[in-house]
Symmetry: C2
Subunit: 422 residues, 2 copies
Amino acid sequence: MTVSFKNGKTSRRNFLTGAAAAGAGTVAATVAKAAGDPLITEKQVWAQATGDGVDATPYGLPIEFESDVVRRNVEWLTADTISSINFTPIHALDGTITPQGCAFERHHSGAIEMKKEDYRLMINGLVDTPLVFTYEDLERFPRENHVYFCECAANTGMEWAGAQLNGAQFTHGMIHNMEYTGVPLRTLLNEAGIQTAGKWVYVEGADASSNGRSIPLEKALDDVLVAFKANGEALRKEHGYPVRLVVPGWEGNMWVKWLRRIEITDQAIESREETSKYTDTLEDGTSRKWTWVMDAKSVVTSPSPQSPIKHGKGPLVITGLAWSGRGAITRVDVSIDGGKNWQEARLAAPGTKGAMSRFYLDINWDGQEMLLQSRAHDDTGYVQPTKTQLRDVRGLNSIYHNNCIQTWWVRPNGEAENVEIS
Amino acid sequence: MTVSFKNGKTSRRNFLTGAAAAGAGTVAATVAKAAGDPLITEKQVWAQATGDGVDATPYGLPIEFESDVVRRNVEWLTADTISSINFTPIHALDGTITPQGCAFERHHSGAIEMKKEDYRLMINGLVDTPLVFTYEDLERFPRENHVYFCECAANTGMEWAGAQLNGAQFTHGMIHNMEYTGVPLRTLLNEAGIQTAGKWVYVEGADASSNGRSIPLEKALDDVLVAFKANGEALRKEHGYPVRLVVPGWEGNMWVKWLRRIEITDQAIESREETSKYTDTLEDGTSRKWTWVMDAKSVVTSPSPQSPIKHGKGPLVITGLAWSGRGAITRVDVSIDGGKNWQEARLAAPGTKGAMSRFYLDINWDGQEMLLQSRAHDDTGYVQPTKTQLRDVRGLNSIYHNNCIQTWWVRPNGEAENVEIS
């Protein structure tokens, strides 16, 4: 097979078959013994003195040793830091919940600061009674809680032309997965009373960009939430405090932050954000009008370029994330030979609609190079495509909605690199 | 019924029946209209200027307006701030996940600071091969993810003698609920090889207190995790970074932080922490030897003393948390008349074993005073007891394991107070 590296070089390689490296081994043989290890035989400073009391941090922060587990920007990617994006450090996380503190940000005119007392949400347009809600009003409606992923349409967008960014944080980190609490949008729309002519809702934020998007009424009445909490607490400023829209399974751009207004209309507004942006340009130069749903996708988060193997051969946990905007993840396959052979990974929990799944494959690594891939399946029967399959349909002109299989080339020294194979 | 207030006063009161105030109403009638509201009619500062860019906070913090949603200490409760506890602000949270930043802390000799490179875990005692694991070793074993609650045995302990602390944060906030990632303890024990005589494990932490506890081998081999992540990221220092024990459903004191050593023994060690502390003194002065499992319990988090009703009568969301160390929560009842009438609350999601459930009851409040209570049921058939029922069995000498029904007296002005009824 041909392997293309992010520096543009290619080579032909023969990779081991999956079977040779498969099957979890025992770790005990590689485990250190206590004899002579001063961390076991000597009394340590922390066992001789008291630590910090409970008044040290009323709101706790990550320990200083984890200071590399932060959101990161790619400076050349966007024109400025106001209309820009950063990336969740998914290479360093485990489980499925993304802490708000390191969940990616995407702003069109910066993260604005608004008090709850100053918050207003207007519903107008084709309704019986235009309404304005305060934050306190929203708190009086029946609430729901759901764990949902939010993925930017541009996630993995830099990889269309070839292997480019060297790390899962940068190739796949425009995503988060949080437990949202909010009021179903349909409840608020029903309070206003939707007129028969109403077929769409146009939603906009209170920031300068307004970031207006049109959503078909059917979706708006289905599972969209007007959310005010994530992972139990108030939204962070950068995620739309005090109120954002949650549009399960659909591209992140529609999850309007600092939600200000919802207008019922008889047709789509065709705003800037749904015409010149967030549409997919095809091979022949025409553009696909709307791509709202984020198709099934997955990525190995470790090992990966930012999370190399440090312990040499033997037992190795391969882990990653999978998600689908169309339904629940039902299965993830992992290949260590660039897709020649596949093994079914273990899902940490049964998939749920619109939420991320964590997968694991426990292998006994023989220390040889690997071409690591993962492939997601969802409950609609959809299977995540290869890059080649995706290019065959979509061409090379796209930025958005790249859900192709990702390849990491893991070297015998445990370091990994973003590559493409064909 | 007789109502006792936290200031020691009592009174006899007739409370409305639940039926009169039940049934969710429409909020629209109470919603403000746009006319004349400058927050709707005038252009706001945030729509005219750009906000913060994505480089502002690599690790995001709560917005300044949420600075009251923090852990709090009760100064008189413990002798010093090193061996002390603080409380999760559950009155201000929603959903089920507790963010690490505001999850309660309990230290016996302070929160210590240890690098991953300095971490060692020894397994010794009645094993075939004593082992010492580094942090990196632990990362090579197959991992699991589970959402579990961790409740301090002393949670609600101050309420045995009467209504005392005025807020759900203080009466019920020694609890958190997080998604833990770790290696099953049984995997590590099996690596060492448990000898036939081994019946218990004794676990201790690396801090000065060591906080040693004995756990029956059956539990250790069941669902105990050696955990290194919570809600996706590394444990906070105050929660045991880099490794803590997770003992699902069992009292928090056994969830040893900065886990250092696990010794397989033939009997319980009967350490300080399981004899003079964390045992329940009964009416006759004798002590119940061990109470490991946290029984089913619930509390209304809003409205509550720290979360009063501000909007007057009409639609009101009553919400709270329920949990059981024995299994999944199957049902929560809510009473607004001190337990005379009960209505079944809505669970936000089906209960899962060892994890918290969020419940809601949407009512149309008539503006009259309420005696708010909640009552949890779990899948073993257990029903949360009243304070009177609990005292009948346990007497008044206890500190720990108080899972009685909590009462909030909500006044017509929306303010709430911790009371007892009999």
